[in-house]
Symmetry: D2
Subunit: 419 residues, 4 copies
């Protein structure tokens, strides 16, 4: 059984996409090569719920080529699947359950297939697979060697399970690898969010007022790129005073959303919270304001409020829904409030996913190698894996760095004086 | 006769695009409104060779609504036509000769239709219409009230005709309107070039070495956005020492292309010259280098050299042609070396074209109002039109500026002392 | 007679300053070397009114070493003279009339000495020497071969004389050399203005709201550096709609000063006009606001209004005057409203003046070589001199640029088709 | 006994400086006001070794005004004392042992006075006081309630003591307060380092190649400002692969110092290690290269190598030492390799120290309030103090932030599902 995808005849097109991704994922490609040689995952069953993109495809292939007995993949978002890649992966021998435009029911059905495939190791993006395993499949979950989690959102969910003593297997929070969260969240989402906005709208960023909700890693990247694309005012909203202060000193304006609502031309949410933009904010917005979300769930722009305020709703461009409010103002919601970089563009560039997925790959290997030695906790990725990813990336970019001289190493140690 | 387009049934989709463009072209919309009222172009025959995009569509509609008897439009680039917009324009009563993917023969046939429509006023982008009128249709050309030209390239061609005393009608070099060339060339092309590159390749700009050939207005915009998107090194190549020096002090590296060739990950040409990247450069490039052009003609990246160096050529992604060289290195040419922002993305954002086309509209009106009073020369747009566009743009953005107090105006005048 | 300076015993310290400047003025040093060889200015009498800084010193030495019979120098600003440099120049054989802290009377007396020295060629910065020659010394002025002018302000004054037919000798507007106005106004004033502000106040720019009045070349440089130093909001005020629009698309906020007054933490004027910040603005300012001027005259921040609003005034730090308003708010005026970069710091860095003064040097040579052949008009510097400066600068920085291939030169010419 | 300073008659000038600092340290001023009211430090003896600047002065006054019985202060750097501030503090009742230009012997004598003053709580910057207490004054050290440490360097030294079980009192690593290390290290040192370089040299940063050794918080700030001031190439050297990679993706070049040595015009070290620039690097440098240090100790630019390579050495400007090498090249060392921002400029702007010292103040209070309850360990500042500083700073800047709605708070909690 090879899973369920939209159309197997798209495989050839998918193969070209995978080839392109491989060209831009040199770190993962090097790990895959080694894996082919040494088969470190021989016999493993792997279940993954990830965005089914060309980059995920390369990871799946690397896992399989490293000896995994079975790799089962479902989509972590109903709208983000690249159907041609899904087809090509099936052809490559991956069991894929994913197609673009799933209903909510279909979405969970697919994740269920992964859960029921009896994986030894599970990879997740957002935590829906972990959640399902910890509610509906507790017994299966108990037999799992370990899991990984790709997102901040998912890690928060897992930490909460851990705190309550309910976590059923050790999890490596891949998101906490510095080479993951920094590059993926800041540079990846920063660029791809605007890529999504530009593809969806073709508007000029220069001269616009951009409001960024949240100044975590993702928000930082978005604010940086807004500035880099020439935005007139870049306004940050935050609830955390330290982050707010950092935004101020990074050269951005900070104010409450209630004030920013009337100023922004483009709004991007990246908080991890819900209803960050809601009725009271829609009411103040300028005609023509554009709303996009870069957070994991489609709850940051609160659509129920938008719907209830509107007298008309239509799709005016692909991924642009026009809401006409009672007073005639029009607001434009991108990608139905879902992750704009994944829905309206192609998600993170391959170079970014190269590092995230090299971390995923190494985490899988680490969990397997340490089977039985880890507690049922959420682990940060070991520092040496993180450094390995960084070193490989620099190497593949042709960049050399300095090394400590023996005298310098000595000097650093010599600070343990006082004896 | 309504011209020739690909498929009239695309008109509805085209209408939505036009609606979206109107939302982002407030200056032109205000001129159109006025035009509807006062019909300043009543009875005029207008011929235009422009990129057939949604923004051009709005200009065509504004001209028609201002009283023009007939508006005939052909494409200024064989690959840049939006077929749905073309269809919607036909429906609106514009005579359109344009479809995406014309052969060279078809391309000139369409321009010929415009020439033969006996226009009073002609609008051109690149100078192919003007060139044809001055070679094959000299007699018709002699009856033309005046023309406009949108690009630097076209203006150079026309100035050369003027110098030789061969210009057959007055031309307003719309490109020389400050509100055109600054915004269109710098901000418009700056953003849309990277939009095109990102859509075509989905690569991450951060961390890459970007080489920009040419530091004119377009090159400046591209270098600025490369920096803004996080490029590691932004290298400019130039032949003009003053521009080169400006690039240096703007914080960019400057070196000859022969040196930059071995460093760049992404190359963008914007010089207006040919063979800016050629055999000697291809030979030094890194495997995987990406080649894009933002100049008017597809001659800047010299394709004959690339072809002759290659053993294999295939389309690996839409708008990405992979050339495999003898030594195995692969180079990636975007959009077949044509304007990457028009072919791989949607050209300039509407906000930018709003100003360019407001200038076009005002230039047409100006030529008409001054019929018979202008010499057969290339004119810069009158400063007051330029300021009018700027004022309208600021107004529609809700931005107020300062005014001189009477004392200040006096002070500025008082510098005429010495009597 | 060797002029009048503060203290000749400062000469040794001045020589070190000149040596430092020479190290950073490679273009002028190369011209000086050539001058020593060929003595192109042999026998000339040169009169100059310039800021008496180390860089001006290097220019004076280059002129003298190129054969000038006498070089007479006065200060173009009563507060900007470096007394040690003045002393060193006297020692070198320049006649200098300048000391820091001149009264208005002394200031004009010094300029008068230059006028009365019967110069063949005059150099001016701001136009006070030209003005004096055209009012009090018309007869002497009639015998002058030609003059140069360094600033925008001065050029405006001279153009006004030209328009009225009152100009008594040809003037090269050195300010209009691209290698002068771009680098000097944008990069030079941009950095040195903040250098002056930081030395005067030691405040942190990051997190501050900076208001820049005027978006000419100087204002552009200041706004750019404000952003580069991390300012939270950079607000531009303008009276020209086109410049205002450019500021907007460059990523700055634009609003009237009446609105900006209540927002700014730091205000910098660069308009060339008077009373740009006046009573109505002081009244709205925040406690602690800092006021600096980067325009030629100390009239942009309108001090009479500030004085009349204040109940107390004291110098709280060198170059910082604290005005306490009736309501207790305190405003801080830097450098008594004079050019903050010259008074509170050291004026333009030598590298910038290298280009400005290489243009000055070449303009003097040009006026001399073309004696009798020029009309009594304000001339732009010939393009070839400008390019020569740029080429020399690039060379001395070790930067190579591209050259047109014969085919490319041909291609550019081939655009003259149609015959 | 009132300590030992240079000249008590400088007190008035020092008072003005303190007044100016107070104007820019609103957070500390608010804490001081509260302290005056509630006297939380009543009866305490406080010993401090800090840079004796106006900002430190405000902290000392706040401690005293909060009830401290005695406050004793010595300099943490022999060259950084502001003698007028020292005098004003003596007048205010602080015991100060500090003057600019101490010999090494004098420097340690002064710190000894602090140690021997039998302090209850000690504040240190760099760890020299802690080191002395842990070697020469172990008995006194045993009676200390607790200490604070301002720098990364000092914290490393203390952690090493802690690891070996030798720490004699609890220490709050103030440096680890986010509102300290982020703002102080990144924004403060970033700006003030260039302030120091500009004051010392008056060179133009635009167009220069700047090499930054180390990409920790300090290096990040310096690289950012180098870019913001228009540097042509900003090159980072690092030994840590993750930091190196971050620099690359932040848009900087990364290479080993051995390669960067031949490219840089300006070098700034910020690594915390020794001999980061040494013989092999000096040998490759360009004539005229400028060397500055922003790290705590003057060991990063390795002066013994520079001395041994040179045939001549002289001070060419204040804080600029010219070394002439055998082959005639000249290298310029700023501030004798000491902290360039403190020696050549005025150290951090007051706004930055406002946050650092608010953290110091709160740490002192915290240590006092928790006397006897803390272990002999190095503590991070409690998160709530950090947030308090951030909130106060935002408030005093007039900036409001968002607050979670009850629904949002609920939503964040709701992620603990699965039960």
């Amino acid at each position: 059984m090879k899973g369920r995808v939209k159309d197997l005849s798209l495989a050839e097109q998918g193969r070209l996409k995978l080839e392109w991704a491989m060209k831009h994922m040199p770190v993962l490609m090097r790990l895959r090569e080694e894996g082919r040689d040494k088969r470190p995952l021989a016999g493993l069953r792997i279940g993954a719920v990830l965005h089914v993109t060309k980059e995920t495809g390369v990871l799946m292939m690397a896992l399989k080529d490293s000896g995994a007995e079975e790799v089962v993949l479902a989509a972590s978002n109903p709208l983000s699947t690249q159907d041609d890649v899904a087809a090509a992966l099936v052809e490559y021998g991956i069991r894929v359950y994913a197609w673009r435009g799933q209903s909510s029911e279909e979405y969970y059905w697919c994740i269920r297939q992964v859960a029921e495939s009896r994986p030894d190791i599970v990879l997740d993006d957002g935590g829906d697979l972990h959640a399902m395993l910890h509610s509906e499949y507790k017994k299966l979950a108990g037999e799992i060697t370990g899991g990984t989690e790709e997102t901040t959102t998912g890690v928060i969910r897992l930490k909460s399970l851990e705190r309550e003593g309910l976590l059923l297997y050790p999890v490596v929070a891949v998101n906490n690898a510095y080479t993951k969260f920094l590059f993926d969240n800041r540079y990846g989402t920063g660029q791809s969010t605007f890529d999504g906005i530009m593809r969806a709208t073709n508007i000029l960023v220069a001269g616009k007022n951009v409001v960024v909700a949240g100044y975590g890693w993702v928000g930082k990247g978005i604010a940086l790129r807004a500035r880099g694309l020439g935005a007139r005012r870049v306004i940050v909203t935050e609830v955390d005073p330290i982050r707010a202060l950092e935004a101020v000193f990074d050269g951005f304006e900070v104010m409450p959303m209630s004030e920013a609502a009337g100023i922004g031309d483009i709004f991007v949410t990246a908080t991890g919270n819900k209803a960050v933009i809601r009725r009271e904010h829609f009411e103040k917005m300028k005609d023509g304001a554009i709303l996009a979300n870069a957070g994991h769930f489609n709850v940051e722009v609160w659509i129920p409020d938008l719907e209830s305020l509107s007298v008309r709703k239509r799709v005016i461009r692909e991924n642009v829904t026009e809401y006409t409010l009672r007073d005639g103002r029009k607001l434009y919601l991108l990608a139905e409030g879902r992750l704009v970089n994944l829905v309206a563009a192609e998600g993170h560039p391959s170079e970014v996913m190269d590092m995230s997925f090299a971390n995923q790959y190494l985490a899988v290997k680490y969990l397997h190698e340490n089977k039985g030695r880890l507690e049922k906790k959420v682990y940060n990725p070991p520092r040496e894996l993180d450094e390995m990813v960084a070193r490989l990336k620099l190497e593949t970019m042709g960049i050399k760095i300095d090394e400590l001289t023996p005298e310098q190493a000595e000097y650093l140690k010599s600070w343990s004086y006082g004896t």
